[in-house]
Amino acid sequence: VATRVARDPLALPNIEQPSGLSELALHTLMRAQLRMGLRYLFVIVFALVAVPLLLANTSVLDGRSLVGVPISWIVIGAGFFPLLLGVAVSYTRSISRLEAAYLQMVDSA
């Protein structure tokens, strides 16, 4: 027989830290996290805006191909994946460092 698990989404059963987290401290933490996220987001958004514009408006790539496949196909079909992976890895490293530093600061305070 299935057991019912009590789970009220409005209840916050296991908050660990916030008792000591002031409005200001949270604000600072969130700003730092958000700023880091947006910085990396900018890289992706820039690429996603600029590449279509370039491809649509220049003829540099016309007629250029690699082993018979046009460069523009390779740029869109394969070129974005390394960029996305690089952003993901790099962001994860930075944010981990940031959060570790935050925890250290809380501990020393």
Binding site: M30, L41, P70, G77
Partner: protein, 670 residues
């Protein structure tokens, strides 16, 4: 036979794997999110297994084949969606601890009504996304076995409903991970063989061409009522009238479309009914196929004896075409099709248009271009090859469409109900981030392959552009390129991968939809004594039935276009809810509700107009077919304005909830 066995193996393996973990699925939390104890690598495989659907396994190749380079933005957006999820949403949402988007909405903003509206959008997105899975299953079974379309739809609905209702998500975590590897193996291994053989034979001819040309004389059976335009000279063998077909049946010939006209076979007379006779008698390979005809029709030159009397012949010859269109013409000089003089063979010179009747067969001579469908969406030549170069009336403003597609897929990923729930199976925020990195890698490994099939399809199966069955190109290419037993084996591998795609995505979607029904919408309506799990099972079965019924009507839409629409609705509804919910302290349920209804509502209306309304051209067509570029801003604006106007509704516990989302976990020390 091999492809059918392959499908059966995948279906059975999925069911068995699901059943094996059945006994573990006990509590709600087990059922919905696998008890939050799944490791990043396994979880990432499961996420990809669930994410990679019929849309990219079958549909993307078909779109690339039809529209060309602009369609490559789909996989870019599908992958980039995970990166923005990582940057803005994933870890905080995991720390928050809600299981589903509706739960997050209520937990963060404190409104049960908002939760119900969100659950409504889960249903909308879920069913919208289930449609293409059902269509994929339908056409796969139809392509491989010749069974009617509905067989595959019903098959997948039954398997998935059973798996979900009796396994829950812990059951399918392993199944989903397994299915990722089935898919990526199938798509990549078959692609490599097809690439080597396909390009080895002909080189990359798809690019730098002025339109898709057939490799050999090709006969294309047509549905009635299609308006086509010849690009090069083509020929039409008019279909049989009903009386003629009935007469043929008395001669023991049931299926008139079975007659083959192969290269070199089309010499001699074409009998008045539109059937080739004389040359067939000269071609021993084809003789067994058409022997009854050669006996049946007198008046073909010499070698056979007529065995039925002339009045009957007159009946057969009773043409359904206007007499003026009947030309006596010769195929002489047309590559590959031999020489045929006929009173019924119809010649369409370049530029001519023609509306098909039932059972018409279009003949395209070797090296000629496949005719285009009037009002069809196919893109040829430079417009196919060059980014944003389409000038087709049915696909106006390609740059806008491209950006809107990117916005919808980029922002829609985070709003897919079946994906987000998977992230709760990570133990904590950092594990969630690691999972996403693995996901992005696994997606990249997979997404480079579907376009390969699209390009090969352009060279080896251009007739699909005329019949519109481009969603089946992945499954048809092995027979076209390799053929024989090797082709059968490859088709089997691809069919297994395709089925893995439908089963995994449909399972994930069904869990979310059933969860929304049983958990968010029907909470108070449960009869006393009904356990949560039992209600979930009932909801799963109901949801599967609805999905199957909708799927039966989805045959005429491109699979991956349907998927893109589900993303667009998700981007216009849940994306603002999640981003603002995670980061904005002044967000209120009033703003969130306004955003969902305005943005998600607008996107849904746009898409339903395209699906069910009249054909549009120009800007209205572009804006409605790819709505995300304007509906996402509307959604954000409505969220923000609504919140600012209702600041008294900011939840009192906003601080605590934001603190919970953003406070980093302590690293686990052993």
């Amino acid at each position: 036979v091999i492809p059918i066995i392959a499908i059966a193996i995948v279906a059975i393996a999925s069911t068995v794997l699901g059943a094996l973990s059945l006994r573990v699925a006990r509590s709600t939390s087990d059922f919905l999110v696998a008890s939050r104890s799944v490791r990043p690598a396994l979880n990432a495989s499961a996420i990809c297994g669930e994410y990679l659907s019929a849309g990219t396994f079958l549909g993307l190749a078909g779109l690339v084949m039809t529209f060309g380079v602009d369609m490559l933005w789909y996989p870019v957006g599908y992958t980039a969606g995970y990166v923005i999820l990582l940057l803005l949403v994933a870890a905080p949402l995991r720390r928050f601890g809600a299981y589903t988007i509706p739960e997050f909405a209520q937990g963060r903003l404190g409104s049960p009504m908002l939760r119900r509206i969100s659950a409504g959008f889960v249903l909308l997105i879920g069913w919208m996304y289930l449609l293409p899975q059902m269509k994929g299953a339908g056409i796969t079974v139809a392509t491989l076995t010749g069974a009617p379309y509905w067989v595959g739809v019903v098959l997948v609905a039954v398997i998935v409903a059973g798996n979900v209702a009796f396994g829950g998500m812990r059951g399918i975590t392993f199944v989903q991970a397994f299915q990722y590897f089935v898919k990526v193996f199938a798509l990549s291994s078959a692609a490599m063989v097809l690439l080597i053989v396909g390009f080895g034979v002909s080189g990359v001819q798809a690019f730098g061409s002025d339109g898709p040309r057939v490799r050999e004389c090709t006969r294309i059976p047509m549905a009635a009522g299609k308006s086509l335009k010849a690009i090069d000279k083509i020929f039409v063998v008019p279909g049989f009238s009903k009386s003629a077909a009935a007469l043929l049946k008395t001669l023991g010939i049931d299926d008139v479309t079975k007659i083959r006209i192969a290269e070199g076979a089309l010499g001699g007379d074409l009998v008045r009914s539109g059937v080739l006779v004389d040359s067939l008698t000269r071609n021993p390979d084809l003789r067994s196929d058409v022997h009854p005809y050669t006996e049946a029709f007198p008046g073909s030159s010499g070698t056979t004896k007529p065995t039925i009397s002339s009045p009957m012949i007159t009946k057969i010859a009773d043409p359904t075409l206007p007499a003026t269109s009947v030309e006596k013409q010769s195929l002489a000089g047309s590559n590959g099709c031999g020489n045929a003089g006929s009173s019924m063979l119809r010649v369409l010179p370049a530029g001519a248009t023609y509306v098909t009747t039932a059972n018409d067969v279009v003949i395209v001579a070797k090296g000629s271009r496949v005719p285009s469908l009037v009002g069809g969406a196919r893109v040829d030549g430079q417009a196919w090859e060059r980014p944003f170069a389409s000038k087709a009336k049915s696909r106006p403003h390609p740059l806008y469409a491209g950006y809107s597609l990117i916005i919808g897929t980029f922002l829609g990923t985070m709003g897919l109900p079946h994906i987000l729930v998977r992230f709760y199976t990570n133990p904590d925020g950092p594990a969630t981030r690691k999972t996403i990195i693995v996901v992005v890698s696994l997606l990249a490994l997979y997404y480079v392959w579907p376009p390969v099939y699209g390009v090969l399809g352009r060279m080896w199966a251009p007739d699909l552009l005329l019949t519109g069955k481009t969603d089946a190109v992945v499954l048809l290419l092995p027979q076209r390129i390799v053929g024989g037993l090797g082709g059968q084996l490859l088709t089997g591998v691809l069919a297994a991968g395709a089925f893995a795609a439908f089963l995994s995505t449909a399972s994930g979607l069904l869990i979310s939809v059933a969860g929304a029904i049983s958990h968010d919408l029907a909470r108070t309506a449960a009869p006393a004594g009904t356990s949560i799990v039992r209600r979930f099972r009932q909801a799963a079965i109901i949801a599967a039935i609805v999905a199957a019924l909708l799927g039966l009507r989805a045959e005429r839409f491109d699979i991956n276009v349907l998927v893109g629409w589900a993303f667009a609705i998700a981007a216009s509804s849940f994306c603002p809810l999640l981003i603002l919910g995670v980061w904005w302290r002044r967000f209120t349920w009033v703003g969130a509700t306004a955003g969902l209804l305005a943005g998600g509502g607008a996107a849904a209306v746009a898409i339903f107009t395209v699906m069910l309304g009249p054909k549009l051209t120009g800007w209205p067509a572009a804006l409605l077919a790819q709505p995300a570029a304007w509906t996402v801003p509307i959604a954000f604006a409505a969220c923000i304005v609504g919140s600012l106007l209702s600041q008294s509704k900011v939840p009192a516990d906003t601080h605590a909830r934001l603190a919970r989302m953003h406070t980093p976990e302590r690293p686990v020390r052993n």
